[in-house]
Symmetry: C2
Subunit: 474 residues, 2 copies
Amino acid sequence: MTAIRSDAPLLLSRLAAIVGEAAVVTDATAMSPYLAEPRDLYHGRALCVLKPSAPQEVASILALCNETGASVTPQGGNTGLVGGQTPDASGASVVLSLEKLNRIRAVDATADAMTVEAGVTLSQAQDAAQAADRYFPLSLASEGSCTIGGNLATNAGGVHVLAYGSMRDLVLGVEVALADGRLLSTLGALRKDNTGYDLTRLFVGSEGTLGVITAATLKLFPAPRSHAVAFLGLRDPAQALLLLNFVKGRAGPMLNAFELVSRQGLELVLRHIPATRDPLAQPHDWYALIELAAFADGEAERAAADILAAAIDAALAQDATLAQSLDQARALWKLRESLSESQKREGGSIKHDIAVPVNMIPRFIEEAGRRLSAAFPLARPVPFGHMGDGNIHYNVSQPVGADKAEFIARWAEVNAIVHGVVHEFGGSISAEHGIGRLKRDLLRETKDPVALDAMRAIKAALDPNGILNPGVLL
Amino acid sequence: MTAIRSDAPLLLSRLAAIVGEAAVVTDATAMSPYLAEPRDLYHGRALCVLKPSAPQEVASILALCNETGASVTPQGGNTGLVGGQTPDASGASVVLSLEKLNRIRAVDATADAMTVEAGVTLSQAQDAAQAADRYFPLSLASEGSCTIGGNLATNAGGVHVLAYGSMRDLVLGVEVALADGRLLSTLGALRKDNTGYDLTRLFVGSEGTLGVITAATLKLFPAPRSHAVAFLGLRDPAQALLLLNFVKGRAGPMLNAFELVSRQGLELVLRHIPATRDPLAQPHDWYALIELAAFADGEAERAAADILAAAIDAALAQDATLAQSLDQARALWKLRESLSESQKREGGSIKHDIAVPVNMIPRFIEEAGRRLSAAFPLARPVPFGHMGDGNIHYNVSQPVGADKAEFIARWAEVNAIVHGVVHEFGGSISAEHGIGRLKRDLLRETKDPVALDAMRAIKAALDPNGILNPGVLL
C-alpha cells in the first residue's frame, strides 16, 4: 500500500475527523518549523502536520495511516541531532507533533514516580519533580525545548548518566500507540514487574519506528542536599582514567559527573565565551570536571575535599580547584558546557558522538589523533565529554584560517578515520544521539548483521506496513 | 513441523555429531536431575539432555531443532521457582543444559565490566568480581547453584535491587543463539550504545523463549568499604513506608536494602531456626531490616547511627538496633533470610511473589489480610520482603494444626484473593520469579491484551517455528 497524491484530500478530511480541523496544519508557513530542524541540516516536506490532543487520537491517526499506507514522522521538541524527527522529501508523510499531549498526569513522591505525557518538556518534568521535593536526573543542553517523548524515542543521555543512566534506565512504563491503532500501556509505578518481555525498553530508543510514545512513568529520586564541583588539571587522558577509578572507588554513587576537557578546548572557550576565566593558576594539557552529590548537608563538599587531597597526594592530578559557592560551581560547569558553542564560533567542526569501553578512552584519543594528524595535519581535534561513560564528543575543528566549507566538505573522510578507530576498540558510532537519518547507512555497515536482522524482524512484526518513521534507523 | 518419535534416533545421532556422544545424555538416571526441579513441583520427560561446550554448538543445536521441529528447554542451575526450566511431559523435548559453558572470559576492573558464560554460577561470578577488587551486586538465596544464564533468562532480583536494580539493569550485552542457528552478540564493555533497539534487555527476562543466552557482559561496581545493618521495631507497614522515605532522603544511594518483616514471621524464625534470637528488647508488630553501604571507612556506620537516631526522634520507629560487628550484621540478615525456611518447617504455605507501587504496600497488606481472614479465618499471612522495591513475598501459612495437604489444595482460591488485590492496586503477579509454567495462564488473564499481542508478535518474529521453551511464558 502506498499513499498516492490524489488520495490526499480524502486522507486530510479523515484526519480532520479524528483531531479536528484546527489540529491539521497544511499551511506552508505554519508547517515550516516542523519540516526542518534548527540547524537546517535536515529538511523535508509533508502532507500536513497533525497536533492531536489525546493518546486515543494518536492511535486513531496511526490506524488510518496504516489503512492508507501514509507514513508518519513523530516529532517532539524538534531538537534531535540526527534527523530522526524530519520527514523525507516526498511530501507524502504526515508529521505527528506530540506538543499538545502536555499534561503531567501524576507526580507521586512516596512512590518515587511520575507519569507525564510525551509533549511535556524536559525542564517542565524536572520542575514537576522538584515541586514534589524529588529529583528527575536527566539533564541536557536542550532541556528547555526537548520533550519527554523525544527523550524516550532517542534514549537521551546527558551529564548525569554516570550516576543515573540514560532515559532507558529512568523509565518505569510507557503508553504507546501501535501501528495498528491500538494503545499499549505499561504505565505504572512498579519498580519490579517480571511478567514477560521488556516492551517498555524496546520502545525507548526505537526512534519512532515501532510505535508512538504518548506518555511514560518516570523514576524519581530523593533530591541531593549537597553538591561539590571540582576542576582538576591533568597530564593526559591516561591520568584521567586513573583518577576516574580512584574517585569511583572513594565516592561510589556520590560521583555524579566526570567530564573530560582538553586544554585546546578550554582555550576555545576562554577565547569565545564572555565571562569565562582559566580556573587554575597554570595551564594543563587536560582537565576533568567532577561533580559529587550527597544527601547530608555539607557531605559532598567534605568528601570532595578529602578525595581531591588524596588524589593530589597520589599524583593523580597536577592541581585542582573546588568550587566554594554555587556561582563558582556554575562557572566551572559553564566551561564544560560552552565547548560546542565555542567550537562553532571558531569555525567549522566535524562531529562524532562515540563511545568505547571507559578504559579504552586514552588509547582511543591517542590513536584517533595520530591518524587524523597524518591525514589532516592542521585540523584540531577537540575531544571532550562524558569520560565516566566512555562517551566522547570527538569534534574536529577546522585548521586556523582555513575555509569552513572546504573543511566541512571532508566530513565523510574525517568520519571514516574516527569511526575506524571506534570500530577497532569495540566502540559505538552513536553513544547518545541515536541513528536517525544521519547514521542509518553507517549502522548498516557497522552493526552485527545478526542483530540488524533481529531488529528488522521486530520492526516487521510491530509495523508490518512500514508506516512508522520510514528512512530512520533501519 | 513436528518431531515424531520415529525420527528420534536420527535426531540423536545428528545432535551427537554437533556436541559429541558424551554430551548427549539419554540414560534415565543421568537425565533425571534435569527433568524435575528440586521441590519436584514440576517434572517432565525429554528425548535427551544436551551439554554443549561452546556457543557455536548451542547455535548448531538450535539450527537442527529448528529444521526438525524439536522443541528445546534451556536450563541453567535448575533453581527456578516457576517451572520455566522443566520440559513438558511429551518426551519429545531436548533439554539444553548450559553447565559446560562455564568460562569467565574476561574481568576488566578499569572498565567495570566482566564477560562470563551462561553456566557460571552466580557465586562464581561474584567471586571473580571480588578477586578484581570489584563488586557484582546480584545476590539471591540460591547463588551457590543458580547460573548467570538462568539469572539473565529470568531477570533475577534479590536483596540489592533497591540500590542496583535487577539483572536487566546489570547487563551491558549478551551473546545469544537464535532459533535459526545464528549467534547474535551485543557483548562488550560499552556503557552507552544508542544504535537501535535494546535487544540485550529484550532477551533478558524472556525465559528462554526468544533465544538461548550463552554469555553476557555484566556491570561491575567499586566495592563498598563500609556496611551498616540495622533492625527496627515498627508499629505497622504505614510507619515502614514513612521510614523508607525518610531513610531514602537521608541516605540516597547508600541505602542498599530495606526489608519488611512481621512479628508473626519473626516468631516462626525464632521457633524453627537454631541460633536465632529476638534482636530487640520488646516485641513489635512489624520490623524493617535496613542496610547502608558506603565508600569511606566507617561512613556507613556513622550515617546509619545518625539516621536511626533521627528516625527515632521523628517517631518513625519504636526501637532500633545497629549491628556492631560483622557477626551481628549476619545474625540480623539471618532473621530475614530464614523466613521461607521457617515457614516450610511450620507446615504448608501458599506463596505469592507480588509487587505494587511502593506507597501502596501498607494498603495492600491490610486489604489482602482482610479478605483472606474473611475467607480463611485461621490462615496466617506472613508477608515479608523487598519493601523498598514494592515487592512482597506474600506467603500464607496454614492454620495451626491443620492438615497440610488440605490447606495446599486451596492454593488457587488463596491466589485468586491475593491476586485480586494486586490487580486493584495496579500491581504485578510476578515481581521477580518470572512466569514459567506456573503463571502462564494467569498472565493471559491479567496482562494488557495489547502487550500480550506485542509479545506474541515478537516471539513469532524471532522463533517462527516455536521451538524455544514452548509452554513457558506465552
